[in-house]
Amino acid sequence: MSENAYDTMILADGVTKTFGQGDTKVTALDDVSAAIRKNEFFTLLGPSGCGKTTLLRLIAGFELPTHGTILLDGQEIGHLPPYKRPVNTVFQNYALFPHMSVARNIGFGLEMQGRPKAEVDGAIDKMLALVQMEHLAGRRTDQLSGGQQQRVALARALAPHPKVLLLDEPLSALDLKLRKEMQIELKRLQSETGITFVFVTHDQEEALTMSDRIAVMAAGEILQVGSPREIYTQPARRFVADFIGDINILEAEMTADGAEVTLPGGIKMPAQLPDTLKGAAPTGRVSVAIRPEDMSFDPSGALRGTVANVVYFGVGSNVHVTLPTGEGLTVRCASDAPEIGAAVGIKLPAAAQVLAD
């Protein structure tokens, strides 16, 4: 990854974080390096316990790294306390101050920085307008709905105009409809303010919808960084492929020249290698990934099988097909799905994505 130094907002270099000591020692982050660009919507995506929240807390300053450095806009911040970092956080449960009005919550950061009252008041008005909450300025925060609290939390964190806004699963407490609205709202706020957003979530759909780039994390490591499209269409690792969307992972045999793979049943198809494996193509047994929507039913298809089950979900169906070798395969079918028990031919995509473990 070649990063222009002027474009990088956050640079984490070899960051390790361990908790506890001796037998109870837990490594939450293991030698993690990442570069987050200016003005980008960057998402840390992974299952719970993967270290994504720890990385966020290290950037915010709530935890100090065990090893490694964190640079913010070119300056080492790894050991600064949170109140000395131009970084603000939107917390999972918002953490609004219950003894203050909406307006005072929003003005808190600027007030603590000792800004003049006129400036604080001006910023409060601007932020209230930005999140469309002008009419609720005087309310206590416990009188607000979940979505309104969410907006106040955003306005409070954006008011001091931080260089980076950290968002720790901020939408997880909202219901589905509100969540969709807030996803759009967040994107709008990010483009209007031009602030770098670092967003933590375990919801892959949320990550794909909102992000400029996604870092997929598991077990304290970053497995792959890329645009949503790259992550979805060219997963580099088995975990990434499995975690994001529906996918078929098949055991295949790599041909000697590394250009093709042999699927179960002897069908050969071109291999697509992830960047990390290029130049050092694996040989022998490999895992390959094929998305259900990249295949279709075609009587002349090379791959043959029997329909085992059909799962309808509105815009289409997932058809589970059993191959003669006994393996299962899911094929997405937009229109009329074949009957259960029918013998079908399957048309394969142009290439199969080879996965690293």
Partner: protein
Amino acid sequence: MVALPDTDTQPKRGAEANAVRLAAARKSIDGSARRRRLQLLSPAMITIGIFGLFPLTITLIYSFLSPGVFGGVTWQFSTDAYVQFLFERDIFDDTLTFSNTYLSIYGRSIGLAFGATVGALLIGFPMAYFIASKPPEQRNLWLFLITLPFWTNLLIRTYAILLIIRDEGIINVSLEGLGIIDAPLGMLYTDGAIFLGLIYSYLPFMVLPLYASLEKLDFKLVEAAYDLYATRFQVLRHIIVPMAKPGIVAGCILVFIPGLGAYITPELLGGGKELMIGNLIALQFGGSRNWPFGSAAALILMVVVMLSLIVYVRYSGKENAHG
């Protein structure tokens, strides 16, 4: 319990009849609920009546009677007790001159109790915060240690302080032994000794309510404030203290009121030389044999406390409304 009224012998028909019956049933339930509530409340009411209002009434009546020669009262109306509080009666010509003897005892008592309250708050707040920040399974042990002194009689504990701070006590002996001082520091029988004793006696009353409100404090709020550029001191001032306010108020009331009426502490550590209200009142029922004046002194104390509480509640209520 619920006695449904007899329905008409000629049953009414339709929704109207049902509505009437429902209303009647509801009324009967409401009535019996009210009766039940009174029945359940009665033990508490009777207790308050016998042990609270009745003695208070006796005190009020006694304060307007004349003292008996050997204690007790003679049934003759007199406002002397209240007059005596503010004025000195000349033995020869019965003229009254203003005297601040008793007022100054009240003033000193209020000062000492207030000082002890502030002292207990300053010591108790970090203690309570420390306990609240411990893992839940360790907190009970710390709370147990805080309340441990309660298991010993207050009199014994006060004597223990006396032994520590007296001229031949461990502090003076050690300091003399180390050559830091030549003569014992006269710590006992001073306001300072009473102050120390009051803080020591009532500290748990401060720590427990403070702990109760700090324990509920969401630590995420503290993090959020740090994140929004608040320094440690600003976090304390703008987040932790306001959130702990109910505990601070409860703790201060629980220390100030018993501190104001304290008897054992000033008796032993003040040596009877430095009177507090408690000693003054005790003296009237003992040595001075002036029960009416003792009753009046007790009532004046109660009125002072109640007035200051009312003023406080008014003030803090207003502050909240504008907060």
